[in-house]
Amino acid sequence: MTASFLPVDEKTILHALGSLYDPCSLATSRPVTIVELGLVRSVSVSAAGTVTLTLVTTSPGCLFYAQLSEAVRDTINALPGVHSVEILLDTSTAWTPADMTVELQAARRDGLLAATGVRPRQWKES
């Protein structure tokens, strides 16, 4: 490492991870990135360029975690300013729909609206 080494920043990492899609969402033809889904709990970067990232899965028994974490590692390693990548799995707090971005929650609600035909305060129409 040289004195001019400039470690990657968290924003760049999250932007890059925004290109990774949740495998289950792809399987159901409703592609959602892991960032939108809220699977990235935290990111930190040391001065030496070591990226530490904590992931959570939507289910404790997620079968795609190994695949997902490797894709995350490869994506981050491809960025300039990365010396090494450490990926941790958050097993202490459960993922909930509230972890999704506000925009994704709104889209999900709109999708539910279309699927069920329920409209807000529909009772007033009767």
Binding site: V102, V118, R119, W123, K124, S126
Partner: protein, 357 residues
């Protein structure tokens, strides 16, 4: 009254938590213990009672002193409970309800209570209770019993509909369903709310309250109050989260507001289970967070909406004139004492009673 807002608590209790009242089965023993644990978990400071204070048979007078001398509550809805397979007297007996209806009619509306799992006997008992309290406004029911386990659905034409027909015939306005909080150690299914829509559709002249709304099945509950004019979200115990789990309460209230509107939410606490003054103040202050305002395109809650939630919805649902209700209580013994002495400390009346025993 908080400021000028009439506080009508849609669900209040005078439980019999004395150990001698617990049925001799494992579900009952566990549930009895759980009530003490829940109280300890959610109460603190002067709102927290010791085991020797809490696990007693609470007389109607104690509830009345708490509500109308220690909180800003103006009126309450008192339920006869028929948790017969957990508690020998059902947990909040008809006799207490009768006493309340006779001693403080200006302060309470009354819900009768039967156990629908006994079949025809429930109809007979409802008639009998109604004869004794003809001014009753509602029916409170539970979806399951234990020892042996049995459950029923509100959309069952044979088991449930005759009961609702009788409710209408007797002139009761509302049916309050214990939902969302599954009693421990039994299947969750009866505590879901997917059976309510069949009843709401078949009985458009009756109202249906989902009690403990939002504690579980939030989205389903929100859709239901959004779709049916005669279904309401009753906040008993949910309201406790306003003071103790504000982030969760924010999400529940915002979801109910978005789908159902302020007109479909009924303020309720379950007091005496917890003291309700802190709950009143927390809900009165509550506004949807910025995140919830963004997620649901909600505007800040207005004074008008607050009045709806705290009592106007409940009065409208029951066909009561709130101006008359105000008049009925403005000079009673509780109003006079509060005017003279101010609100008493939380549970101070009950603590004094316990100390004297």
């Amino acid at each position: 009254m908080i400021d000028d807002v009439f506080v009508f608590d849609a669900t209040v209790h005078s439980f019999n938590l004395d150990a001698s009242n617990v049925q001799p089965n494992r579900w009952a023993v566990t549930l009895h213990r759980a009530f003490m644990d829940w109280h300890e978990q959610y109460a603190s400071g002067p709102d927290l009672l010791s085991e020797s204070e809490y696990l007693r048979d609470w007389p109607a007078e104690a509830l009345t002193e708490i509500l109308f001398r220690e909180t800003m509550t103006d009126m309450g809805g008192h339920h006869t409970l028929r948790m017969d397979s957990w508690f020998k007297d059902g947990f909040d007996s008809f006799e207490k309800n009768l006493e309340i209806s006779q001693r403080w009619p200006q302060r309470y509306v009354i819900y009768l209570g039967v156990d629908p799992t006994v079949g025809q006997g429930a109809l007979d008992e409802l008639r009998s209770q109604h004869e004794a309290i003809p001014d009753a406004v509602g029916l409170k029911i539970y979806p399951a019993q234990v020892d042996p386990y049995r459950s029923w659905r509100a959309d069952d034409r044979e088991k449930a509909f005759p009961l609702f027909e009788l409710v209408g015939e007797l002139g009761l306005k509302t049916v309050a369903f214990h939902k969302a909080l599954a009693v421990m150690g039994v299947p969750t299914e009866p505590y879901r709310i997917d059976d309510i829509e069949g009843a709401a559709m078949a009985f458009p002249d009756l109202n249906f309250e989902i009690v403990h709304a939002g504690n579980a099945f939030l989205e389903d509950t929100a859709h239901l109050i959004g779709r049916f004019e005669n279904v309401y979200a009753n906040l008993e115990i949910t309201s406790l989260l306003s003071a103790q789990r504000p982030v969760l309460f924010d999400e529940i209230m915002s979801t109910l507001l978005y789908w159902g509107g302020a007109e479909k939410i009924l303020y309720a606490t379950g007091c005496m289970e917890w003291h309700s003054q802190a709950i009143i103040e927390a809900i009165y202050r509550w506004q949807p967070s910025e995140e919830m305002q963004r997620r649901y395109q909600l505007a800040p809650l207005t004074d008008k909406e607050r009045k709806l939630i705290f009592g106007e919805n409940y009065a409208r649902m029951l066909g009561l004139d709130l101006a008359q209700c105000r008049k009925g209580i403005e000079n009673d013994e509780f109003a006079k004492a509060t005017k003279e002495l101010g609100l008493a400390e939380p549970y101070s009346h009950w603590r004094a009673r316990c100390a004297a025993l």
